[in-house]
């Protein structure tokens, strides 16, 4: 992969350019754009990281979160986060990840509590994004962690100080892409081109047997 030259090298390039007048587009500053102010950054930077970076000051309790959830979220996600229609379930599914039909929810799957705060703040409620106050987002996060039995006490109040003490049950079950090792056998092989099988192939399964392909006008309701 292309590596960015280290700082010393950049300085050297600029220095050379100044001395001998060689254009080095790489390290030269163009002066394009304007410096952005701390206030502008603060207003737009809504990201929250697992280490707590980005968490705004604020607090909210499980109980406050429950009321908000019923009012703002339950229409799609269900009163207990069970999910309505095809909207995502937010709770349940504990221990189901090895099952034939795993149920991936906040509690059973998500590795970081910060993801809840970050996502609610930027994208929820669906169709009315960035409308909730920070305290409301703390409360909703607390409620969602409570219905997933990660926060046990209904009296718990979540804030920017205690946030990073929350540990998610599935946090350690993620590992970096290992395809180049575990799928090494897909590389450098010379597949057979002639008389590769004796018996003719049989059809094992057919899309038409399911017939869930949508037509121009309608899509069948399944699931």
């Amino acid at each position: 992969m292309w590596k960015f030259p280290d700082r010393a090298l950049q300085v050297l390039f600029v220095g050379l350019a100044l001395v001998i007048g060689v254009p080095t587009a790489m390290a030269q500053k163009t002066g394009i754009g304007r410096e952005v102010t701390p206030a502008e950054i603060k207003a737009w930077d809504i990201s929250v990281r697992p280490d707590g970076k980005g968490l705004p000051p604020g607090k909210g309790s499980v109980k406050e979160g429950e009321e908000l959830f019923i009012a703002q979220c339950a229409a799609c996600h269900g009163d207990f986060g069970e999910g309505r229609d095809r909207w995502p379930a937010l709770a349940g599914g504990h221990g189901s990840l090895k099952h034939d039909r795993p149920d991936k929810t906040v509690g059973s799957f998500w590795p970081a509590a910060s993801t809840l705060f970050d996502y609610i703040k930027r994208a929820m409620p669906f169709g009315n994004a960035q409308s909730l106050s920070n305290d409301e987002i703390y409360a909703l996060t607390a409620y969602l962690l409570h219905i997933n039995e990660i926060i046990k006490s209904p009296d718990f109040e979540l804030d920017n100080k205690n946030f990073t003490t929350i540990k998610m049950p599935n946090a350690d079950a993620f590992y970096d892409d290992d395809r180049e090792a575990t799928e090494k056998h897909f590389w450098n092989r010379k597949p057979c081109m002639k008389d590769c099988r004796k018996a003719p192939a049989n059809v094992l399964n057919r899309a038409q047997a399911l017939d869930v392909t949508p037509t121009d006008k309608t899509g069948p309701k399944v699931d």
Binding site: I32, A129, D176, C196
Partner: protein
């Protein structure tokens, strides 16, 4: 103009759908009962022929004037091509604002996808942004945080690059077996476009990277605030901040006025309506890189940061929407691509894997781009089991679906690059199947 001549001209699109092997087929094959119903999914409509348009007659369109130059200030396809559209699968998602539709691959040729047919994937609808008020903010671990207007961005040195964008969930419905009976639905979450833009490297250099910078986060200005983390090395290698596609401004649904292009890596990273890039020393673990776009394995653990789109191919003709119509000479056509480099070779079998032949690649063969292949073959009405297998410059050979399932099980949703099988029946009807 008489009424009669008008009807001559408007031979038109018949209300009915294609009947397989309609009058065109030489040699006594008849339509299989019930077969046509399955084709109501994007097949081209039956055009009614009018003998008055055929030799020795001179058709009306050879006698009268057509539209003047101002009739269509922005051109659209011929009215006879109305069936060539993006389609969605309504039951797949809860709402159309957070949903996906599919590129009609079986109707296209060459390697470039027309802008209006590039599949869409939105998480909060296709937002409309006035470019005069659009800003890109660069901040975090930089020497000087910067704010750019669209005009500012266009003052950096420009590049033109052709790359495929494939959704990581393309073919994701097919893990457990053949499910959707159409090439558009099994493989249509891919498109290939020439982007004009500037290198993200140049923009980051303008801000100046701190020594501990390792990751960036990209964020969209839509109401999903789509955010993804990207290793800095990739950002500096070949990421493009793009404002044009196929020569014209990005389409609204493709992120107008600004999107990021991450060549060869999963489409979800290609943040549209790009408004903010933060430089950091670790990933952010956003929803789209934890709850989604991670690959659940059979042991209950999940792969993360599975960015590369591995080599893949699909025969686009014949396909369920594009059955064989003629005995004798036919053109098999398809697409191959790899997120790790160039396509070096495509093998095609017509007999379910007993014998394979190298397909003829035609047109541009580019890094991380769709590549077009053909097999010109004779068909005598025998049953065919068609598959294609892509090879790339890293030596990767496209696996079968069964080989993938052996490693990953059936619940990983994403990155299904397994070999596709089309079964062509004696009447030309073509179906998505899996074979032994």
């Amino acid at each position: 103009m008489t009424d009669q001549s008008k009807t001559d001209d408007d031979a038109g699109v018949a209300a009915g759908r294609r009947r397989f092997l309609g009058g065109a087929l030489a040699g006594g094959l008849s339509l299989a009962a019930g077969g046509a119903a399955a084709q109501d999914k994007g097949a081209e409509p039956v055009l009614k022929s009018n003998p008055r348009n055929l030799p020795p007659n001179v058709p009306r369109w050879s006698k009268v004037l057509g539209d003047g130059v101002a009739a269509h200030p922005y051109g659209t396809p011929s009215k006879f091509e109305k069936h060539v559209v993006r389609r969605d699968v309504e039951w797949l998602t809860a709402s159309r604002e957070s949903s996906v539709n599919f590129t009609p691959l079986h109707e296209l040729d060459g390697i470039i996808t027309p802008n209006g047919l590039c599949f869409e994937r939105h998480h909060g609808g296709a937002t409309e942004i006035n470019p005069i008020d659009h800003r890109l903010m660069i901040h975090g671990l930089v020497d000087k945080p910067l704010l750019f207007t669209m005009d500012d961005i266009k003052r950096f040195p420009r590049v033109n690059r052709i790359h495929f964008l494939e959704c990581a969930a393309n073919s994701g419905m097919e893990w457990r077996g053949a499910q959707l009976n159409g090439c558009q639905f099994t493989h249509g979450m891919v498109h290939n476009v020439m982007y004009t833009g500037v290198l993200l490297r140049d923009i980051l250099n303008e801000a100046g990277l701190k020594p501990n910078a390792k990751w960036i986060q990209m964020e969209g200005a839509d109401s999903a605030g789509m955010n993804r983390s990207l290793p800095l090395a990739k950002a500096l290698e070949d990421a493009i901040v793009a404002f044009k596609m196929n020569g014209e401004a990005l389409r609204t649904e493709q992120g107008y006025p600004l999107r990021i292009v991450i060549p060869g890596w999963e489409g979800n990273l290609w943040v549209k309506w790009l408004r903010r890039i933060e430089v950091g020393d670790q990933p952010w673990l956003a929803r789209e890189e934890t709850a989604k776009y991670t690959d659940l394995m059979t042991d209950g653990r999940s792969r993360r940061y599975t960015f590369f789109m591995d080599a893949k191919s699909v025969v686009t003709n014949p396909a369920p929407e594009a059955p064989l119509k003629y005995k004798g000479r036919n053109v098999l056509s398809g697409l191959a691509w790899s997120g790790r480099g160039k396509v070096t070779r495509v093998d095609v079998t017509l007999d379910g894997g007993r014998n394979w032949q190298e397909a003829r690649i035609d047109g541009l063969v580019l890094e991380k781009s769709l590549t077009r292949f053909y097999v010109d073959f004779d068909w005598q009405g025998q049953e065919l089991m068609i598959q294609s297998r892509a090879h790339d410059t890293t030596g990767y050979v496209q696996p079968t679906k069964e080989e993938l399932r052996k490693v990953r099980g059936v619940n990983s949703i994403y990155h299904n690059n397994g070999i596709q099988t089309w079964l062509v029946r004696a009447n030309g009807e073509t179906e998505n199947v899996e074979i032994s």
